[in-house]
């Protein structure tokens, strides 16, 4: 055997001997054994690795945990469940509250429209017609005065198009959403939660920060809220949860430019 071939065989055997000793290289077994029989240096390496394996296996694989371990685990599980239940119960009420709010708004709007068409029999006609009517409406219905600066954006009206099957279907698919004013409360609340989370995070109160960020996320906050949650999970060693959050962001087609750097003192 020439020198180069021997050198290559040694290189091969030294790479494969570890798996061979573990019984995980059956196809290579004959070749490795043949080399070990002929090469004292590689044989010595194999013996050394065997001795090393025995030395490691002499260490205890199992250890007795501190007393009361089982109780502590069960208490932790109870605490985790207790923390989840009120939160879930609270969130269950959110749709009810939203529905009630929406119903009140519809009733108020209906009353406002009715009163706008019919002058109030009790309100005396006053100079300045329209303005007086508006004032009376506000007074009678009890709604806050509409503020012109707080205009909701109106949905873009598309130019008239022939009523093709496609356009009819498209309109049928989302008939109600177009008529509703866009909600400004949820993003504002989500942002407030994020701001609070940032404060807590800067103070090192990661548990509180996590709660605020999670609230922002659950309020329908932006993908940034999810990234906040992921970052705190990662900081607290909950990598699996962090990955879940990031996966959710990825699925939502995150634009990398949305990353918002946060400096924590």
């Amino acid at each position: 055997m020439n020198v180069i071939r021997r050198w290559l065989e040694c290189r091969f055997a030294r790479g494969a001997v570890s798996a061979y000793l573990d019984g995980e290289a059956p196809p290579l077994r004959a070749r490795i054994e043949s080399h070990l029989a002929a090469c004292p240096r590689c044989r010595e390496l194999a013996h050394a690795l065997s001795a090393q394996a025995r030395a490691i296996e002499a260490l205890p694989a199992e250890e007795e945990p501190p007393a009361g371990f089982v109780n502590r685990v069960m208490q932790r599980i109870s605490a985790a469940e207790a923390a989840r239940v009120p939160a879930r119960a609270g969130w269950r009420l959110v749709p009810v509250a939203v529905a009630a709010g929406a119903a009140l708004m519809v009733i108020a709007a209906a009353m406002w429209l009715v009163l706008a068409k019919e002058p109030s029999p009790v309100a005396p006609p006053a100079a300045g017609g329209k303005i007086a009517n508006g004032a009376a409406r506000t007074h009678v219905v009890g709604l806050p005065k509409p503020t012109p600066e707080r205009n909701y954006p109106t949905p873009n009206r598309e130019p008239a198009e022939p009523a093709t099957r496609h356009s009819v279907r498209a309109r049928e698919a989302v008939p109600v959403r177009e008529a509703q004013p866009p909600s400004v409360e949820k993003p504002a609340v989500a942002q407030a939660h994020r701001d609070a989370g940032h404060l807590y995070e800067n103070q090192g109160q990661l548990d509180q920060a996590l709660k605020e960020y999670a609230a922002a996320r659950d309020q329908g906050g932006s993908r940034l809220a999810r990234l906040d949650v992921a970052r705190v999970y990662e900081k607290t060693g909950h990598t699996a949860e962090a990955v879940d959050e990031l996966a959710a962001v990825a699925f939502a087609e995150l634009d990398e430019n949305d990353w918002e750097p946060l400096t924590v003192d």
Binding site: A19, A48, E64, V73
Partner: protein, 186 residues
């Protein structure tokens, strides 16, 4: 006659999923030594290992519904524990302060070639390995897992397990026997 371990564990899992939370205590009781042992070996500190082992069981409880039953419960618990410890090691970026070679210092207790001092050296050398290498060595030699089980536990390909073990063993050899550092040429 006692049920086989796997069957008994699966029974416990079913009872937990049926709403009997207290049954989980039985599972903790059965596997606490293995879970704590691997956490201790990975983290090198009893307090951290205690915390990590508890967290591993809490995670396991919260993910019981995802347990598919295609591996045994013990392997599943060790997988959760190992991954958790790797994450902790990455986040904390610190070396273990205690190497856990032995709790007893009786020199007569010679477990292998050189006894306590050698075991201490081995434990120290393992503790200094990078997290994935350490996990591969522990799962292979202390939990006697196959390469495919280690791959599943660590979420890496089998070929990577081979590489991790080969490199880990080279590192261990270089640390334990500096004079015997391998040369590539015969």
């Amino acid at each position: 006659m006692d049920k086989p371990a796997d069957t008994a564990d699966l029974d416990i899992v079913r009872r937990c999923l049926a709403g009997h939370r207290d049954a989980f205590a039985e599972l903790v009781q059965r596997h606490q030594r293995a879970v704590f042992g691997i956490a201790l070996r990975m983290l090198g500190d009893r307090d951290q290992a205690d915390d990590a082992a508890q967290e591993a069981f809490v995670r396991a409880y919260s993910r019981l519904s995802t347990f598919r039953g295609d591996s045994n419960v013990r392997a599943w618990l060790l997988r959760i524990t190992t991954r958790l410890c790797i994450d902790l090691l990455r986040v904390r970026r610190r070396r273990p302060e205690v190497f856990l070679a032995d709790q007893q210092t009786d020199p007569a207790d010679a477990g292998w070639e050189g006894g306590v001092a050698e075991r201490h050296s081995v434990a120290r050398a393992i503790a200094e390995l990078p997290p994935h290498y350490k996990a591969a060595i522990i799962l292979r030699h202390l939990q006697h897992m196959s390469y495919s089980d280690i791959a599943a536990a660590l979420g890496i390909p089998v070929a990577t397990v081979k590489t991790h073990l080969l490199r880990a063993r080279r590192m261990l050899r270089a640390r334990l026997r500096p004079d015997a550092a391998e040369g590539a040429t015969p």
